[in-house]
């Protein structure tokens, strides 16, 4: 199932998703004596929504940090677009077209919604320091183009009313949405969402689910998401990886994973007698 392959794949909903974009090969991550991730392999296919689930402390966020370059795996390789990825700093990974959001929102709280989303386009801006400093024609044209792209995202996420508000003053749910907007602004090849719905009420969760599905549907963006809410995961994702204590205990379509005995044990607990 996790064999690298360029062949398309048909999900259980009958959706066809593309070949493998990223492959994680035997990833192990250790902090001193603590093993956060133990020899995990899985792949991510073009255009799919791939969920990573598991109980608290299973190593899900660590996995996302490996993909986004915030952590360097102790062992194993990350293959991206058919090539092994050399050791990279997080900003270099971002420049490769991998955008992310954080579990505990990391926004630029003093800046407006508009400016926050504009920073998301930094990897797409080409003019150099000199013309930027002098505000020459080219830089100005570029700024206008990027502004238009950002306005589209603002419309898409229905946050026109808070364009000029400093994000530090926004309620939690809206901050999460702005953070998604900033990641989208990079027009990423791969979008990583770390618990996009944590701490939200039902209505906010429904909104966020709709946005995630729309992003995947309209832009064809490949999404990897970590989520606790099993209902949400089952509805959204095409394929699911299940982690527990740093190990992979399941990998497959949602219904298959839901019926996997090990997964049920990990979630509900099992008596060891």
């Amino acid at each position: 199932m996790t064999m690298a392959s360029a062949e398309p794949y048909v999900t259980e909903d009958g959706r066809t998703i593309g070949g493998v974009v990223m492959e994680l090969k035997n990833i192990t991550l250790r902090f001193g004596g603590v093993v956060a991730i133990k020899d995990i392999s899985f792949d991510i296919r073009e255009g799919e929504i791939r969920a990573i689930i598991g109980p608290n402390g299973a190593g899900k966020s660590s996995m996302l940090n490996v993909i986004s370059g915030f952590y360097t795996p102790t062992e194993g390789e990350v293959w991206f677009e058919g090539k092994p990825r050399p050791k990279m700093r997080p900003y270099q990974v971002a420049q490769q077209g991998i955008a992310r959001t954080f579990q505990n929102i990391a926004l630029f709280s003093g800046m407006s919604t508009l400016d926050n989303i504009m920073t998301g386009r930094i990897t797409r801006m080409r003019t150099g320091l000199f013309s930027q400093a002098l505000w020459m024609g080219k830089a100005e044209r570029e700024e206008t183009e990027h502004r238009a792209a950002v306005e589209k995202i603002i419309d898409f996420l229905e946050i026109q009313h808070i364009r000029k508000t400093p994000v530090g003053r926004l309620p939690y749910g809206l901050q999460k949405r702005v953070e998604l907007g900033r990641a989208l602004a990079a027009e990423p090849r791969l979008l990583l969402l770390d618990e996009p719905m944590a701490g939200m009420n039902v209505e906010e969760k429904e909104d966020m689910s709709r946005f995630i599905l729309d992003v995947n549907d309209e832009f064809g963006t490949t999404i990897v998401l970590i989520e606790h809410d099993m209902g949400v995961v089952m509805d959204l994702s095409d394929r699911v990886v299940v982690m527990d204590y740093g190990k992979k205990i399941g990998d497959g379509p949602p219904t298959e994973v839901r019926n996997n005995k090990e997964v049920i044990d990990a979630y509900l607990g099992v008596s060891h007698d």
Binding site: A99, F102, A106, W135, R182
Partner: protein, 331 residues
């Protein structure tokens, strides 16, 4: 108009001009504080070092001449050229950028994620290192700096304002250099504000100030931004160094003006570029007017302490300064 009032106005105008110089130094502090949360104790020394380098290049001084002479028994001091001012300024800017790269490479890079107090201590070390380096490279004597800026009383202002008073009033006395300084400061502030609000790098700079992780995640290189911000601070220091140097000579007490920038920052707020300017002006005018009105009654020399007392008052009633961001901690 009563002459007494006119004199007060003149004192005030001169205070404004002195304030501009304070503001120029404070500006360098604000830039680095905004981008990295570091209070850069070395900002004043940076201005001194920039001015020393400029004079040295202009006059064709051989760097480390004393050291070379001591080691080889030679008696070299000058290359024997006079460099055009424009070229000397351009080269000094290059030196300040190289210095910024060295600071990032040898200090900041190793102190990532450390407490602000540790970074602050590092800048104290940097200040003394640079002061020593400036001494060894260019010598400790007081140097005159002449970059061709106009100096002396502005006759135009004097004549135009003479009509305001009676026979005994000859018009306001304002140094041309002060007017130039004010114009330069205005241009600098406007440029920096536009740069930080509307350019890619400016936005990246503010982003880094707000959240390192998030900045990395959108593809910003922290190291590049640090080099950039220290370079800009170095260039601002050069401007401040030129102005102070032209006014009172390039001497090592220049590094002490950094201390006067502290009350300016407390008034203006550590994070506000316009705040640095307004703070500088208030301190400049305040200390001149205080000396003029009350100073003579209590023995004079109030300019030495007035700024600090004013800052103390501000700390009690408005700790975030006039323009600083109010910090509200949730309990």
């Amino acid at each position: 108009m009563p002459d007494q009032f006119l004199y007060a106005v003149e004192v005030m105008i001169n205070g404004l001009m002195a304030g501009v110089l304070y503001a120029l130094v404070a500006l360098g502090f604000v830039l680095i504080f905004k981008a990295s949360g570091i209070f850069n104790y070395a900002q004043g020394v940076l201005a001194l070092f920039a001015a020393l380098t400029l004079v040295g290049l202009q006059k064709g001084q051989i760097p480390f001449a004393h050291l070379i002479n001591a080691a080889f028994g030679t008696k070299v001091h000058y290359f024997g050229w006079t460099m055009p001012t424009f070229l000397a300024i351009a080269l000094t800017i290059v030196v300040m950028i190289l210095l910024a790269i060295a600071i990032e490479r040898f200090i900041l890079k190793h102190l990532v994620n450390q407490e602000p107090i540790i970074l602050f201590m590092a800048t104290i070390g940097l200040a003394y290192f640079l002061e020593g380096l400036g001494d060894v490279m260019w010598g400790a004597d007081v140097k005159t700096l002449d970059v061709g800026l106009p100096q002396g009383a502005s006759e135009w202002v004097e004549e135009a304002s003479a009509v305001l008073g009676g026979d005994g009033f000859y018009g306001f006395f304002i140094d041309k250099l002060d007017i130039v300084a004010a114009l330069v400061a205005a241009v600098l502030v406007i440029t920096l504000t536009i740069f930080s609000q509307y350019s890619k790098q400016g936005r990246a700079l503010r982003a880094v100030a707000d959240d390192h992780q998030a900045a990395l995640s959108v593809g910003i290189s922290l190291r590049f931004i640090w080099v950039l911000v220290w370079s800009i601070a170095g260039i601002v220091a050069l401007v401040a160094g030129i102005m102070w140097g032209a006014k009172s000579g390039v001497q090592f007490s220049l590094s002490l003006i950094a201390l006067k920038a502290l009350p300016v920052l407390m008034l203006g707020g550590f994070t506000s570029i316009p705040g640095a300017i307004v703070g500088g002006l208030i301190i400049g005018v305040g200390e001149k007017l205080f000396e003029f009105t009350i100073g003579s009654m209590i023995g004079g020399a109030t300019e030495n302490w007035f700024a600090y007392v004013l800052a103390l008052v501000f700390l009690v009633f408005r700790p975030q300064g006039l323009f600083g961001e109010k910090i509200i901690e949730r309990v």
